[in-house]
């Protein structure tokens, strides 16, 4: 499946060279990276964060400031920023992850609020509400990623690597431990899962992924403004996780794709975007609380299991 998708993505620009369309699919790639990380945290580990746009924003502004203002080369800057954001996530995570449910949601929301305000207010560094422009493009030597086709290959390579790494993670004992603690923290701990550490680690990982996506976002548009990193972006990301499927890596891709494309499809309703997102979320939660992909998958496995059972009972009866 990974190979198939990669091939499709390699060929895509050959058929579709409209820069606008590629711009949209590139945005999907960036969102997918954030949503993958967030899905590990929400879907697998069963926690909630309404503040991941903050890490996304810190990554974006971190890269913008280090490369735009201080002239650091973009690639090392990106790594440095990701590490710094990881440390911030650690400091935030250690106290905040003692909470759960509504309290955790409020705490992460508050964190997003603080970061957003800093981006707005500290205008000498961030450019304030009018944004930060003149961020250099990423480049390998003279080869600069400055048009949509080149960005397509760059962004989707990143996304596919992240997707693969996440797939590996959830298939490992670490991933099992996360799903276990999401379902029953006491039982998971009694079986040897270090639940506190596991939650902190996955929170940091998801923040680092959001930061990387933010850096890519900054270098890709060369202009960023605090608007992109407010609490509504955070909720949109949670919606992507929920719609694609809690605890489904492929669902993350689907959710990010669907919600990013939605405004394109419903052009006229642009102003009602938040209503539409909210409406979809409510519908999905009512009918498939595990999200589209995971919900359907669950239904299929249960049906299959029960079907087999019935077959066997019939065999036994005859």
């Amino acid at each position: 499946m990974v190979v198939m998708l990669s091939t499709l993505l390699m060929l895509f620009p050959l058929f579709e060279d409209n820069p606008y369309t590629l711009g949209v699919t590139n945005l999907i790639a960036i969102n997918t990276i954030v949503v993958l990380g967030l899905n590990l945290f929400i879907g697998y580990a069963g926690q909630i964060s309404l503040g991941h746009a903050a890490f996304f924003g810190l990554g974006a502004y971190g890269s913008a400031i280090t490369t735009g203002t201080y002239g650091l080369p973009p690639w090392p800057a990106m790594l440095l920023v990701a590490m710094a954001v990881g440390c911030i996530a650690l400091f935030v995570g250690i106290p905040v992850l003692r909470l759960s449910g509504h309290y955790l949601a409020m705490a992460t929301l508050g964190f997003n609020f603080v970061v957003h305000s800093v981006l707005l207010e500290w205008d000498t560094l961030t450019g304030g509400p009018s944004g930060f422009s003149g961020i250099p493009y990423l480049a390998f030597g003279d080869f600069s990623f400055d048009d949509e086709v080149r960005l397509h290959y760059l962004l989707w390579s990143f996304t596919m690597i992240c997707l693969l790494l996440c797939l590996n993670l959830v298939r490992s004992g670490v991933g099992r431990g996360l799903s276990a603690l999401a379902e029953d923290e006491t039982a998971a701990a009694a079986l040897g899962v270090n639940t506190r550490l596991a939650k902190i680690k996955i929170f940091v990982l998801s923040a680092v992924m959001a930061s990387l996506a933010g850096s890519l976002f900054a270098h890709c548009y060369s202009f960023i403004s605090p608007d992109s990193f407010g609490i509504f972006t955070s909720t949109d990301m949670v919606i992507m996780v929920v719609i694609g499927g809690m605890g489904s890596i492929w669902g993350s891709l689907f959710g990010a794709g669907l919600i990013t494309l939605l405004p394109e499809w419903i052009g006229v309703f642009e102003n009602y975007k938040d209503f539409v997102h909210g409406g979809i979320l409510v519908l999905v939660l009512m009918f498939l609380p595990q999200g589209l992909i995971s919900g359907l998958k669950d239904m299929v496995t249960v049906r299959l299991a029960l079907h087999k059972q019935k077959g066997k009972q019939k065999d036994a009866a005859t």
Binding site: S172, G173, A189, A190, L191, G192, V302
Partner: protein, 254 residues
């Protein structure tokens, strides 16, 4: 193997365990009995770090484990089942059992993301061992089922499989046959006997006296949080304190 010393547990001032002391010898089966509300589950919860103890000590293989974090106690080799089933409902039966091998997974998140060959090899071994445990409990044909759709008896056995798959040094079972029918009880009883023969150290909470008489080497009786008797099954059965604890209860409810 396990030694409790003056273990106390209060729930908001109300004592659930007071001054409980006894030892669980290696390679033997200890049964913990007592009327409802005696504090048997609370005792197991305190030993495994699910609940913090108020005071006292628990020594396991020479380590003081009282109030240690659950996962550390598990890593030392104590494994348990719960009175009210605590499977991971949406995980498959196989994944449920493989979670019992968490302590042997021992690799970092970054290693897991890279899925190096040695990890894949280790993962395969863990899977094989889990399949073995499931086979032991006759669950081989349901390994990919989500645990939540299993029948009650199957769930009980998955929990047992999950507890023994890591070959723990000490196995604590909270009412392993509660709610099972006669046939299922006999099957689980046989499996427990096999475990004893294989040299496992067991402590089980059980109301089913026939099972207790059959497999327990040592019986510990709790009543209202106090340890009122210890000894072999026969000794305990003849102990007047024990008779009173049980009969007194019955008269009160009659």
């Amino acid at each position: 193997m396990l030694r409790l010393d003056h273990l106390c547990k209060n729930f908001g001032g109300l004592p659930a365990l007071s001054d409980v002391s006894f030892t669980v010898p290696k390679g033997k089966v200890t049964a913990l009995i007592g009327p409802n509300g005696a504090g048997k589950s609370t005792l197991i919860n305190c030993i495994t770090g699910v609940l913090p103890a108020t005071s006292g000590s628990v020594l396991f293989k020479g380590h003081e484990i009282v109030n240690l974090a659950s996962h550390k106690i598990s890593a030392l080799g104590i494994s348990r089942t719960f009175q009210n089933l605590r499977l991971f409902p949406r995980l498959s039966v196989l994944d449920n059992v493989m979670t019992g091998l968490t302590c042997e997974g021992g690799h970092s998140m970054i290693m897991a993301m890279l899925r190096l060959p040695y990890l894949r090899h280790r993962e395969r071994q863990l899977k094989l061992r889990s399949l073995e445990a499931l086979d032991y409990f006759d669950l081989s044909d349901k390994i990919y089922w989500p645990a939540e759709i299993l029948a009650y008896g199957d769930k009980k056995r998955v929990e047992l499989a999950r507890a023994i798959v890591g070959k723990p040094d000490l196995l604590l079972l909270d009412e392993p046959v509660a709610g099972l029918n006669g046939e299922e009880t006999a099957a689980v009883g046989d499996q427990l006997k096999l475990l004893r023969r294989a040299g496992h150290t067991l402590m089980l909470v059980e109301h089913d006296m026939d099972l207790v008489m059959e497999i327990a080497d040592q019986v510990v009786v709790l009543d209202s949080g106090r340890c009122i008797a210890t000894g072999t099954a026969d000794e305990v059965r003849r102990n007047p304190l024990v008779l009173e604890a049980y009969l007194g209860r019955m008269e009160a409810t009659a």
